[in-house]
């Protein structure tokens, strides 16, 4: 089993190649260089592993939420590759990818809250819980909202992850007592692990049916004339 994962949804560009349980990856911070970097980075992984694209079994990508254009670069690259190779796509939540970075520090069923800076005074947020296989599963709906409107349910998360905590101090007050990691960005490595689970569960989709998840869908207004 060989799986390629791509993420370009935030201010870093990352790719990962997972074969069975071994993962190699690349991660480069870049505000706007994703389009220059992503394919050469994939080529590097192939060169290092000695595999060719034709040997892949599936392609995974960060399907959002994140920067609109960044999310579309990831899905565009993933679609182009998967369509050319006749492979299924595995869309993975960028919030889950961030949550997965905390998995090693969670006990079974413990929760992690992810808050990514969504700009425009809002955050993308979701809560995840650790499952028996060591991977996180969603414990809430993903949403875009003003940080001050975030409501924590009865089971309090133990860890808070994401750039939302850096951008909006109000979240710090709301999440008092939680361990906060404010610099966490989604990475292809965790996307690959989460995608492998979905692949085994038969959740791969045809490339033309994969869709980004923007969460923020009110992007145009009809002018009153």
């Amino acid at each position: 089993m060989k799986l390629l994962a791509i993420d370009t949804a935030t201010e870093q560009c990352s790719v990962a190649l997972l074969q069975d349980s071994e993962c190699i990856d690349r991660c480069i911070p870049t505000p706007r260089g994703h389009t220059d970097l992503v394919l050469p980075m994939i080529q590097e992984l192939l060169d290092e592993s000695g595999y060719s694209l034709k040997q892949l079994d599936a392609v995974a990508f960060g399907r959002g939420p994140g920067a609109f254009t960044g999310v579309r670069i990831a899905i565009g690259v993933a679609q182009g590759l998967a369509y050319a190779l006749g492979l299924k796509l595995l869309p993975v939540s960028n919030l889950a990818a961030v949550a997965q970075q905390a998995a090693g520090r969670l006990k079974l069923a413990e929760r992690v809250l992810v808050c990514m800076d969504a700009r425009m005074a809002e955050i993308y947020s979701g809560t995840f819980a650790l499952a028996v296989d060591g991977l996180v599963i969603p414990a809430s709906e993903e949403q875009v909202l003003a940080p001050e409107n975030l409501v924590l349910k009865e089971t309090l998360p133990r860890i808070g992850m994401g750039t939302g905590f850096r951008a909006y101090p109000v979240l710090r007050d709301l999440c008092e007592g939680m361990v906060i990691e404010e610099n966490a960005l989604p990475r292809a490595r965790e996307i690959a692990y989460l995608a492998l689970r979905d692949y085994k569960a038969g959740l791969g989709v045809a490339p033309e049916l994969a869709l980004p998840v923007y969460l923020r869908d009110q992007v145009a207004h009809v002018k009153a004339s």
């Binding site: 609109f68 254009t69 565009g76 050319a84 033309e208 869709l211």
Partner: protein
């Protein structure tokens, strides 16, 4: 050389396949006009989102139309600019990655080079050099086309594009988006010469255009006519539309004549959505007949945005040995004068 081309620079998703031996094999287009109509103009974010949904099914439909599969393609061309950056990126990311996975060359193509070379898709293509008038909602320019990569911009608009002037004037007259074609058909019922609108920049030397003053003149006239508060009767509206159209047509025609005289070219090619305007076509044809100039139009579907022209331009450049590295290229602005003649690569034989 058989090339798959993808065009997503604005509000049309388009895919085509061109073969250097067989010619155009297939072309498909999805227009987003209905999606943007309610907003009265193209909303870039919505355009980008729609390209994502439509692009792969359109590629599949184009392959099916051509009756070929992935393995029978030799290269990929895509519009790399100029255009809406978010929209361009959708096509560029898919196109470049697809070529990478297929192991075939890819090339980012200049959108306007596509338009300038669109007449070469016809069975009886014009001979170089020719003068091209490109008039659409996004562009108004005159160029001398001497060959692949040999474009000299003779003049362009300093403000609104001609099609933009049509759309904005239509909006001022209460016509629904996109109003240009509606304004043109209203003009056909109008009486010529009822209103005297300016012929922008006609009294000045050079080949540049300016249409925003003309649009303002129409708006001012409409305001004066409506001073009583009563809505304008249909004939008056048609007369205003007719006089507006006449001003645009006369300006464009006069500049074309100047450009032909200046360059000595004997062929005029008219492309872009406004190129479909009947009054403009009739005037340019009669001008051509009087002066022995061949006036040529690409077929209507290749006048507006399409991927066939990108496939043609990309194929010529790929044939000449030009190709991109692994970068996904998308640029909102890209001066066409910066394009170069592709250098034919020769394989050394020693």
């Amino acid at each position: 050389m058989r090339v798959l081309a993808i065009e997503t620079s604005c509000d049309e998703t388009a895919v085509a396949i061109y073969d250097s031996e067989l010619g155009l094999m297939a072309h498909q287009l999805h227009s987003q006009v209905a999606l943007h109509a309610v907003f009265g103009g193209v909303v870039p974010e919505l355009a980008s989102r729609d390209h994502v949904r439509k692009l792969l099914p359109l590629i599949e439909a184009t392959l099916k139309q051509a009756g070929i599969d992935h393995a029978q393609l030799d290269g990929v061309a895509y519009t790399a600019g100029p255009g809406l950056i978010g929209a361009l990126l959708v096509g560029a990311a898919v196109a470049r990655s697809y070529a990478f996975a297929r192991g075939i060359p890819a090339l980012g193509v200049h959108h306007l080079e596509g338009h300038l070379l669109a007449p070469m898709l016809e069975a009886d293509p014009p001979r170089y050099p020719f003068v091209a008038l490109l008039v659409s909602g996004g562009h108004t320019l005159l160029a001398k086309v001497a060959g692949l990569g040999q474009y000299q911009i003779l003049g362009s608009t300093l403000d609104d594009a001609a099609g933009e002037a049509f759309d904005k004037t239509a909006k001022a007259m209460g016509l629904p988006y996109p109003g240009g074609p509606a304004l043109a058909s209203l003009a056909e019922r109008g009486r010529l010469g009822r209103y005297d609108f300016p012929r922008p920049m006609l009294d000045r030397p050079g080949l540049d255009f300016s249409f925003s003053g003309l649009k303002t003149a129409v708006v001012v006239t409409l305001r004066q006519l409506q001073q009583g508060g009563a809505p304008l009767d249909e004939q008056t509206r048609a007369d205003v539309a007719c006089s507006f159209q006449e001003a645009v047509v006369e300006t464009l025609t006069a500049k074309c004549m100047r450009a032909l005289k200046q360059t000595g070219a004997r062929t005029l090619v008219v492309a872009g959505g406004v190129g479909a305007n009947r009054a403009l076509r009739a005037r340019l044809l009669s001008m051509g007949e009087q002066r022995g100039i061949a006036v040529r139009y690409p077929r209507p579907e290749f006048c507006t945005d399409n991927a066939a022209m990108i496939a043609y331009a990309g194929c010529q450049r790929l044939l000449a040995g030009q190709q991109d590295d692994l970068q996904i290229r998308a640029v909102a602005r890209w001066p066409i004068d910066s394009l170069q003649i592709p250098q034919v690569t020769t394989v050394s034989s020693n």
